[in-house]
């Protein structure tokens, strides 16, 4: 789960990370009022779940409250990577001496959280990683011992020669690590970590991504979810316990299991079609899930054919068949449907479908080919 910059900063502040004061505005007038209260230059920053906000014009420096109002007017409502900006963070602008990058991520290879730090921080850190990887220091952490001070100091000295700055940076890294573990993150980063002209360290931007598997046991973190900033059909699917990603094609896919779902999309493409979505109905089936899946898929006007590909293991194919019958009785389909079912209770599923006027095959390639042709308007 993504959370906004202002939410990540709130968490980091709670662990002692030095962060300039800031507040959220949803109207230009609010932005002006916050800037007036601070009585100094501010940054107005779009709060959306997208990288490259600055390059898209969503982050602006404002000298005066009137300026803040004007910039907020421009940013609120603008689109960044298809996401509408509903909120801006108004925060005291920092004098920037130098910019460093400090990030921590769960790494598949070492199977540990790994710190990445670089003195060449800022908006082009990906370029740094690609072209000058020697400017990044990687430090894995054994979670049983936490981040030892010597490792934190090693990173501090990698960033700064001055021992005072190195110590201050090491302290921030231990605070960041504590926040990362406590919030159940898969990623946390401070970029940039800034040295001000007066020699102080401050975190000017913060980002956190939460492991979805943590949300059940961390309700206070789960409550940070901002559904208004997500694709509505994806929110709908998540609330129905389905994994759904909207795409641009016209073959709507309903599959059980992520690997088979991806393989089904690949096969749609292989036979010359384009998938309209990724949709995994998951392991244990019930007819309700199928009803929700069909509702979400048919809401997309681009969908010209629907393809079910179900391999029953834990999933009972008769449950899926019943779901298809229930859903289409309530809302008759306006587009053709192709069903492939095999596995647990296959004979029963076929019987249910045949009795209700559907046909189904047990072969994946046949079904996909047929769905692609139907989506193209063929027979």
């Amino acid at each position: 789960m993504n959370i906004h910059e202002y939410q990540a900063k709130e968490i980091l502040r709670g662990y002692g990370v030095p962060i300039p004061p800031g507040e959220i505005a949803t109207t230009p007038a609010e932005a002006e009022a916050i800037a007036t209260k601070y009585g100094t230059a501010v940054m107005v920053k779009a709060q959306v779940h997208a990288g490259g906000r600055g390059k898209a014009g969503g982050v602006k420096f404002c000298k005066t409250p009137a300026d803040a109002k004007e910039k907020a007017t421009a940013i609120l409502g603008m689109k960044i990577k298809d996401l509408t900006v509903e909120k801006v963070l108004v925060t005291i602008a920092a004098d920037i001496g130098s910019e460093a990058y400090v990030g921590i991520i769960v790494d598949r290879a070492t199977k540990k959280p790994v710190f990445m730090v670089s003195a060449a921080g800022g908006i082009d850190i990906e370029e740094v990683a690609a072209h000058t990887p020697e400017k990044i220091l990687y430090v894995p952490v054994d979670v049983r011992y936490g981040l030892p001070t010597y490792d934190a100091m090693r990173m501090g000295f990698f960033l700064y020669e001055d021992v005072k700055l190195a110590r201050a940076a090491a302290k921030i890294m231990q605070q960041l690590y504590a926040a990362f573990m406590a919030a159940g993150c898969s990623l946390a980063e401070i970029n940039p970590l800034v040295v001000t002209p007066t020699g102080e360290l401050i975190a000017v931007d913060g980002k956190m991504v939460i492991d979805d598997n943590e949300l059940d046991r961390k309700p206070e973190i789960a409550a940070l979810r901002d559904e208004s900033s997500e694709e509505p059909s994806e929110v709908d699917a998540r609330n129905a316990n389905l994994t759904f990603i909207k795409l641009d094609g016209n073959v709507g896919c309903v599959v059980n299991g992520a690997g088979l779902a991806m393989a089904t999309m690949d096969l749609v493409k292989y036979y010359g079609g384009e998938p309209a979505n990724f949709l995994d109905i998951g392991g244990s089936s019930n007819p309700e899930k199928v009803v929700n899946a069909l509702r979400i898929i048919t809401a997309d006007p681009n969908v010209k054919a629907i393809l079910f590909n179900i391999f029953g293991g834990i999933t009972r194919t008769d449950d899926v068949a019943n779901g298809i019958v229930t859903a289409t009785k309530a809302n008759p389909l306006k587009v053709p449907i192709v069903i492939r079912l095999t596995g647990t209770n296959e004979e029963l599923a076929m019987k249910i479908l045949t009795e209700n006027g559907f046909s189904a095959s047990s072969d994946m390639d046949t079904a996909v080919k047929s769905a692609v042709e139907l989506a193209k308007g063929g027979k």
Binding site: I105, K111, M116, S186, A258, G259, M262, F311, I314
Partner: protein, 290 residues
């Protein structure tokens, strides 16, 4: 012959009285797996289905029955502890079916099991099956048949699809292993490839990967350097949209790695067969068994 499990596997089921655990316990018993014990805290002394003794702890179960393998069906918040309990109790193989285990839990569990020399498969995996001998997990027994092909996969239902196609074409399997798709899992492709290379009954290997990470590239490197047996690979997610990455750090740690194209290139460079579709495994494997 086979890898990891066979007819001598003595299985303890953690969470045997739960909804999923009890259902799959029966399926595994029907398949012929030696289910020697179950564990549910507070139900020690009872019997499952009138035959399988239930214990309060894995240690008790191992002591009383000599169980050497554990399979876990407990809910996600308790899965990490269940894995550590099994590893500490002295079984040599732990298979965790549970989906939704927080990844930070796994950063603690992984070194714990490694230090005890225990093999962990999963979490979030379908388990494994040695056709005709034993099944540990949830892979449907009837789609498998004994034969010469080792199967290893990151996905559940995609494994079933490929095994089903192989079986329909008359090509049997030594062992099918689902290693799971979580970022941190106990057993990776290389562990399985190494085991299949050593297993005299395995004559060829079918391997199903996915986009993301670099496990498949490393596996391809292993095939090139250390394997004499033929390997055929498939990557799911060839058409998955790019993006959805996890901020700067995600891009940094994986670089450009993780795309289907890159993984397929790695397979080709290692001299592996590449299946464009699941059905293509049949012809590619057949040609390599001759």
């Amino acid at each position: 012959m086979s890898v990891f499990i066979d007819k001598n596997t003595k299985l303890v089921i953690q969470g045997i009285t739960g909804r999923d655990g009890s259902f799959h316990a029966k399926q595994m018993m029907e398949y012929g797996t030696q289910v020697v014990a179950g564990v549910t805290p507070g139900k020690g002394g009872q019997k499952f289905e009138g035959t399988v003794p239930i214990f309060n702890t894995v240690a008790d179960a191992v002591k009383a029955t000599g169980a050497n393998t554990s399979v876990i069906y407990v809910p996600p918040p308790f899965a990490a502890d269940a894995i550590m309990e099994a590893a500490a109790a002295g079984v040599s193989l732990v298979v965790c079916i549970t989906e939704g285990v927080p990844v930070l839990d796994m950063t603690k569990v992984y070194p714990f099991v490694k230090e005890r020399g225990v093999r962990l498969i999963g979490p979030n995996c379908p388990g494994l099956i040695t056709p005709g001998e034993a099944k540990v997990g949830i892979i449907p027994g009837r789609i498998c048949t004994p034969g010469p092909v080792g199967v290893v996969s990151r996905s559940g239902t995609l494994t079933y699809e490929v095994v089903y196609q192989l079986t329909r074409a008359g090509i049997g399997q030594t062992t099918c292993v689902g290693i799971g798709g979580d970022p941190i899992n106990g057993t990776n492709f290389i562990d399985c490839l190494e085991a299949f290379e050593k297993d005299p009954a395995t004559k060829a290997v079918a391997m199903m990967g996915e986009i993301g990470g670099t496990d498949e590239q490393e596996a391809a490197e292993f095939v090139k350097k250390h394997m004499k047996k033929p390997v055929v690979g498939f990557i799911a997610g060839q058409t998955a949209p790019p993006g959805r990455r996890m901020g700067h750090a995600g891009a940094i740690i994986s670089g450009s790695a993780g795309t289907a194209a890159e993984k397929i290139d790695a397979f080709k460079a290692a001299g592996m067969g590449v299946a464009a579709r699941p059905i293509d495994f049949v012809e590619l494997i057949k040609a390599r068994l001759k």
